[in-house]
Symmetry: C2
DNA sequence: AAGGCGTTTTCATTGCGTGAAACCGGATGG
DNA sequence: CCATCCGGTTTCACGCAATGAAAACGCCTT
């Protein structure tokens, strides 16, 4: 936690954000004392941070167990963030056409280059039975084993990938996950050549995806769009057949972002 | 802004949150100087708040125009909040059955009693053409003109409603919006008797909804579930026909929340 | 009644957050 | 080409706001 204490950081604010970051899906609730000891703060300091955050709805109490947990206000910032992204609005109609064409789930994502994770910005559920739960707008998935992620990684400088992944390693999610960095780099080279990435059951069992990157006016990758479906419908053959359709989609979105092509 | 300066508030944290709250859908971007003058702070203080928030991804720069806007990290807190709510997980399978039955869009919402607004926690898109865009998980809509909102307002003490709405008024969104408080109170009384609320084109033109509240083990209203559709498919007659189905749904969800019924 | 646990309040200390003002660097324009 | 402006960054000295220690409180269990 906390790569804070830059020269200009405001300590109290850093602490408040550290406090909020302490909550996670696996540990959604704490007592004041637990928080204090985790953060290495005195009870009174923690108390005052909690009062401040609670009065604004960032934390709540009273879920029978009496502990503190995150509050509804946490949703608001994310909403403003989403509504402000023009990538989202420009991509949406084109994504809807794509879904109409292929009937499968369509995702829009961006890359968080600090953590090498994909963040979903939009999701259009497939029109066929067996839908993709598990993904959600605002949610994160690792980049190295997803189609969205790989097609954005492919345009990063190789040194950055090397630095990051030699440090943290390539976590495995299925038997198909690529866990060797050289193999990943080889595949990414191929990906950038083709402008298409495929996730062949590398992240979730029995899910395959195809994705391609979206470009902006400065010819920088600003996001990616994917089609995902259950492996039985989405054979490797089907993935390749969908290539041109996805390429058309991202080209249209890229144009709307000012891409000169 | 800012009902801060309670006895125990941490000023720097309040200011940082005020800063984040400044961003909105209609004004998503500011320069440092703009923020400073809005918040009534010096440039250096604002600068240090921004450095702190930026290093953690809560604000970003560099969207060509060079101003500050909200950053991706804003999505994370909302996600943890959502994944921690057991109302959501318990309701989801029951909501899916409801959608299968009626084919229209199904929403789950809670009430923010401070602002009398509904917050969507889950959305299952309808299976028929003409989908409901406009709503999004985490989004807010006013309570007095939506089915979700009205069926939760109906169980609030009348004094609270009176206090709130005489203060802020009943904003009108369509010709059907109820703008007279006494009329609203009359309808809410009827609503609580029936345990069902209908939005008859009161919030969005040509959308009708039916909703019913979810109860917990303490017999308190903890949320509501609705069915929404375009007015041509969702006639007033159809709304009433859907009543029993929705009642069954919320009863099942309430049971899963520990409701003794 | 006593003890334990988590929260709230008090209080004195000082280091941190603060505003003022100087400085920088790019854009504008005369 | 210099002057000006406008954002952003840095410096600095001041004093209060944030802090930790400790005590008080409330509630539950023993």
């Amino acid at each position: 936690m906390s790569r804070n204490s830059n020269r200009y950081h405001v300590r109290a604010v850093d602490r408040a954000l550290d406090l909020l970051d302490t909550f996670s899906t696996s540990e959604p609730e704490f007592t004041l004392t637990e928080l204090a000891s985790r953060l290495g703060l005195s009870a009174s300091t923690t108390y005052r941070l909690l009062v401040t955050l609670e009065s604004r709805g960032y934390v709540e109490r009273g879920n029978q167990s009496g502990g503190y947990s995150l509050g509804v206000t946490c949703l608001d910032l994310g909403n403003v963030f989403l509504s402000q992204l023009d990538l989202r609005e420009r991509a949406l109609p084109v994504m809807e056409a794509l879904r109409e064409e292929c009937k499968e789930t369509v995702h829009l994502g961006i890359l968080d280059g600090n953590r090498m994770e994909v963040i979903y910005l939009e999701k259009l559920e497939g029109l066929l039975p067996v839908v993709m739960r598990g993904s959600r707008v605002g949610g994160r998935v690792p980049a190295h084993c997803t189609a969205l992620g790989k097609c954005m990684l492919a345009y990063l400088p190789e040194a950055a990938l090397h630095d990051f992944y030699t440090h943290v390693g390539l976590r495995s999610y299925t038997p198909h996950t690529i866990t060797d960095l050289n193999e990943l780099l080889r595949e990414l080279k191929e990906t950038s050549r083709k402008g298409l990435a495929i996730d062949d059951i590398e992240h979730e069992l029995s899910v395959r995806c195809v994705a391609a990157p979206v470009w902006n006016h400065k010819k920088a990758v600003v996001g990616a769009i994917s089609v995902s479906g259950p492996a039985n419908r989405m054979s490797k053959k089907r993935c390749h057949e969908l290539g041109p359709l996805i390429r058309d989609t991202v080209l249209e979105v890229s144009r709307r972002m000012g891409y000169p092509g």
